[in-house]
Every structure is written in structure tokens, then in C-alpha cells.
């Protein structure tokens, strides 16, 4: 599935809820289904800066696609990561670099996009794009 298609799928799923509580509950559920990062990989160098909660993000490349795994000690943050992992994992580096993140607004999580909010959603996206950029450069060489 393309990033665009996954984003549309998410927008569709979140549109079923009429209030924020249901959206948050769904996101928390998504967080629980997040494929967990290997405990050995929860090292300080995998921590994303700028989060009030701890967020570990790992990436590896497999058949030209990036696989992201992640975890957090806060459950809402974990839900946000689950959404991001679903969108960006198992995609080619160039596709990740080209993707926009307007869907976050559309699924009602806009407040988490504010760079001043200490949850680090912006930092997470930035880190994912950094990995994509690094792999893209490797692939070219």
C-alpha cells in the first residue's frame, strides 16, 4: 500500500468517531497493537529528543524498504507512534521523504503537531525522515 492510501485509510477510520474521546481511545488501541521494538534496542541513542515521555525509534532496511519499530513509556504517545509507524514503515526512503503529513490534521490530532507541544510528534516525523534521507543516500552510493 502506498503512503497516500494508508493515510486515506486512517482518515476514513478516524472519521467514524464524533468526539475526541473516541478518537483518543482508538489511538490508544492502535498503540497497544504497535509491533514492539526489541528490548535490546531501547538504548539512549535510539531516544528521540524533545519528548516529555520516552520514545525509542529503530529503523532497518529490508529489500529497499525501511522498517520502523518503536515504543514509548506513555500510552498516548505510543498511539501517535503507532499511527506514524503504520504510515511510514515498510516504505521506500524516497516515498517517506516525499510524503506530507496533512492527514494528522484530518484525523483530529492537529494539537499534537504544534512544535511547542512537548510530545515530540514533530521530532518523531523529523527523525523518520532523517533515517529515510540517510538510507536514500546510502542506496545512491
Amino acid at each position: 500500500m502506498t503512503i497516500q492510501a494508508i493515510q486515506e485509510e486512517l482518515i476514513d477510520e478516524f472519521s467514524m468517531f464524533d468526539d475526541w474521546m473516541q478518537r483518543y481511545e482508538y489511538m490508544i488501541e492502535l498503540g497497544k497493537s504497535l509491533p514492539l521494538i526489541d528490548e535490546n534496542l531501547k538504548t539512549d541513542d535510539k531516544l528521540i529528543k524533545g519528548c516529555q515521555s520516552k520514545v525509542w525509534l529503530n529503523s532497518e532496511i529490508k529489500d529497499g524498504k525501511i522498517i520502523f519499530t518503536a515504543d514509548s513509556d506513555a500510552i498516548i504517545t505510543k498511539g501517535i507512534i503507532a499511527v506514524l509507524v503504520r504510515v511510514f514503515s515498510n516504505q521506500k526512503p524516497q516515498a517517506i521523504l516525499d510524503a506530507n503529513t496533512d492527514f494528522i490534521d484530518e484525523i483530529g490530532l492537529k494539537e499534537h503537531l504544534s512544535p511547542t507541544r512537548a510530545n515530540g510528534l514533530v521530532s518523531m516525523i523529523k527523525q523518520m525522515k532523517m533515517y529515510a534521507f540517510a538510507y536514500q543516500t546510502q542506496l545512491k552510493n
Binding site: 475526541w20 474521546m21 516529555q52 515521555s53 513509556d73 504517545t77 512537548a118 510530545n119
Partner: protein, 405 residues
């Protein structure tokens, strides 16, 4: 004057706004207080009617602004019972005041001298002294605290010696609300000849310190925690220290005479007030102090204690909820966690319900390290909060718990 909560709430325009569709419940008063109309009016009046630079112009506006600024200084002097108005130095806030003192001591301290701080300090109370120690070779000693969040006084006494040159303690811990026994701390420090700097950022909105009675050498606080504007605060400095410490910054206002060969510094307080100050901020700080005194600190303390007691009882009814800072002497701050739930998650959910609390380490990581927690949820109450708002908080935390566990 009887304590009329509705009348008080009407003074604060912000309290009638909505957040995320709910009436705002503002419980982040330890971070900053809201401002009453009287203070807002004072700011508008200054810029509308007599804005001018102070201490230099002979024209009418400059005279009026200077008078208002110096009247504010006198109000602050009276409020804190300082001996002289010139012992009150206007600063940009608590952190600025601390750095001013730390800078002064960099000329006084020698290698092997000791500075004592407490284990419950805000980061702004740790970093300047670490920098000072690196610069001078002095050593930083820490008064430990116990599980209840109370400083261990006997350990403090053991740390004191003739090597101690400065003791630095907050009057009230921002993360826990514990009131420290500063009168005893000052007395003991003076016995070994050490100076004492007290950080009153968290205390001055709740209690009225008597600086002469306390015999503090230095006392710092910020206006914005006391219903005044941000960007202004005071450093109280005993006259003898004011004469001893070198100026912090060079500039206008702080000089008596300047030639290219030599500059002589102005006397107190101007020696430490280089450049054009926050004139409006200083005047509005005076207005905030008038406002608080009109309500009366006794009434404020009594009412806030009621809020604290009620909030503590109600929150503890929630299963798995733990409060940090459980000593008998504390202000209206409740720092807590719910078992198995990250404080950030609770903060996010309660914000959705219109309630403003602080989450995180509250710039006091050593305290979090002590309790082995990532942070807490901190609800801090002011005299304009109500019992109903406590109920709203408790209901929101219960809802969050339901969603998150």
C-alpha cells in the same frame, strides 16, 4: 474584608474563557499566576498616559514615570519589610536575581570554599552554582531530603562549617510544595558566618515573608507568580552585601561618573540596575502587591489551605494515586501520579477537559531521580480556584484513568 470568591474570580477576565469547549480550570499557578483586571488596567494606564524613560528626564512624563516606579519599589519594600527601599533591586525575575548574586560571589569565593544548596531545587537554582564552582574551585554540597519531601535538618547542620560561604535554599519547593524552615536555616548559616540566599519564587503568592525578621541576606522572587507581569522581579540584598558585591552588568543607570580612564558606580540600587528597566513591569508589580494585600495574605493562606486539604483528600480516593511531598508544612501544590500511567498521558487527557495542570519533571530532575519517576502531574491552586474546580480535576483524573488503563 470578607473573602468573596465570586467577587475575586470576577477580577480575573481569563477565568471566564473556555478551553476545548469546557470552562477553563486553571491549576498551573505554580508556573505562573493569572492577572486581575487591576493589574491589566495599570499596564494599560502606564502606556496610555505616562510612558517615558525614568531617572533622567526633567520633563513631566519622565517625572511621573519615575515617581510611579519608585513608589512601586517602596510598596515592595513595605510588603517584604526590607529596612531600606534601595535594598530592593528590580530584576528581570528570579533567575536573573540568582545569577546576579552568583556573579557577585565569583569575586568573593576562593578554592575550597563551600556552597550549600538543597536537594529540592529548581534547575535555575543548581546550574548557576555549578558554573560558579567551576569558575572558582568552590565545592557544591547538597542538603538531602527524605521520602516525605522534607529537608533533613540534621544533615544540613553537619554540612555547615567555616568553609561554608553561601547557603541557597528555596522557600517553597516548586515540584512538591514543601515549605522549608528558612528562619532556622538562616540562623544556622549565620552561626558559621555564611550568607543565605532564599528563592521565594514559589512562596510569595502564598505567604508574606518578613525579610528583617528572617534576617535573610538575599531574597529573590518574580512578579508573575504574584499576579504581576512576566519579565520583572526583585532581588532583596542587605545593604552591606549591596556594597560588597561588584556590579553585574555595565550600562546606563548604574554609573555615577564616566571618563575613559575610570568609571565610578552609582549607589544602591542603581549599581545593579544597568540600562532602561522594565518600567511598566515594576509599576504593575506594585499594583499586584496592592491587589494581594487588599485581599490579605491571612485570608489567602486560610482559603488555599482549605483547597489543599480538600484536593488531597479527594485525589487520594482514587485508587493507585500517590502524592509526592507529604510533609505537614506545604502550600497548595499537589504533585501526583497514578500507578501504571505516565503523567504526560494524564496531562493530555485532562487538558482535553479544559483543565490546565503541569506534567513532567518541573525543572527539578534531582527530585524525580530521588523518587525514581519520570515526572509527576502537578496541580497548583491559587486563591481564585474553587472547590468545584477541585471536583472537576478529580473527575477528569478518574476519566483519564479509565481511558488509559
Amino acid at each position: 474584608m470578607p473573602f468573596d470568591i465570586q467577587k475575586i474570580r470576577n477580577d480575573f477576565p481569563i477565568l471566564s474563557r473556555k478551553v476545548n469547549g469546557y470552562p477553563l480550570v486553571y491549576l498551573d499557578n505554580a508556573a505562573t499566576s493569572q492577572k486581575p483586571q487591576q493589574v491589566i488596567d495599570c499596564i494599560v494606564d502606564y502606556y496610555s498616559n505616562y510612558n517615558a524613560n525614568i531617572h533622567r528626564g526633567v520633563h513631566t512624563l519622565s517625572q511621573e514615570a519615575t515617581d510611579a516606579y519608585e513608589t512601586a519599589r517602596k510598596k515592595i519594600q513595605t510588603h517584604f519589610n526590607a529596612k531600606e527601599a534601595y535594598e530592593i533591586i528590580f530584576t528581570a525575575g528570579t533567575t536573573h536575581g540568582i545569577n546576579l548574586v552568583a556573579n557577585g560571589f565569583s569575586e568573593i569565593l576562593k578554592k575550597g570554599d563551600e556552597i550549600i544548596v538543597s536537594a529540592m531545587e529548581h534547575h535555575s537554582n543548581i546550574v548557576p552554582w555549578q558554573m560558579l564552582c567551576e569558575k572558582t574551585g568552590a565545592l557544591l554540597k547538597v542538603i538531602p531530603m527524605n521520602e516525605e519531601g522534607i529537608l533533613v535538618f540534621s544533615e544540613y547542620e553537619k554540612l555547615l562549617s567555616e568553609k561554608t560561604k553561601l547557603v541557597f535554599v528555596n522557600h517553597i519547593s516548586n515540584a512538591l510544595g514543601t515549605i522549608n524552615p528558612i528562619a532556622e536555616i538562616i540562623e544556622k548559616a549565620h552561626e558559621v558566618g555564611a550568607a543565605v540566599l532564599i528563592d521565594g519564587a514559589q512562596s510569595c503568592s502564598h505567604i508574606k515573608p518578613d525579610l528583617q525578621k528572617l534576617d535573610a541576606d538575599f531574597y529573590v522572587t518574580s512578579a508573575h507568580k504574584m499576579c504581576g507581569p512576566t519579565g520583572v522581579g526583585i532581588l532583596y540584598m542587605k545593604e552591606e552585601w549591596g556594597n560588597k558585591l561588584p556590579p553585574y552588568q555595565g550600562g546606563g543607570e548604574m554609573i555615577a561618573e564616566v571618563t575613559f580612564e575610570k568609571t565610578t558606580y552609582a549607589g544602591l540600587p542603581h549599581k545593579f540596575e544597568a540600562g532602561t528597566p522594565n518600567i511598566c513591569g515594576g509599576i504593575a508589580f506594585g499594583a499586584a502587591i496592592d491587589y494581594l494585600n487588599a485581599i490579605g495574605f491571612e485570608a489567602i493562606e486560610k482559603y488555599e489551605n482549605k483547597l489543599l486539604k480538600y484536593a488531597t483528600e479527594k485525589l487520594l480516593e482514587i485508587e493507585g494515586l500517590k502524592i509526592y511531598g507529604t510533609g505537614p508544612d506545604k502550600t497548595s501544590v499537589v504533585s501526583f501520579n497514578v500507578e501504571g500511567i505516565h503523567p504526560y498521558d494524564i496531562g493530555t487527557i485532562v487538558d482535553k477537559l479544559g483543565i490546565a495542570v503541569r506534567t513532567g519533571h518541573h525543572c527539578a530532575q534531582p527530585i524525580m531521580e530521588f523518587y525514581k519517576i519520570p515526572g509527576t502531574v502537578r496541580a497548583s491552586f491559587a486563591f481564585y480556584n474553587t472547590m468545584e474546580e477541585v471536583d472537576a480535576l478529580v473527575a477528569a483524573v478518574k476519566k483519564a484513568k479509565l481511558m488509559l488503563s
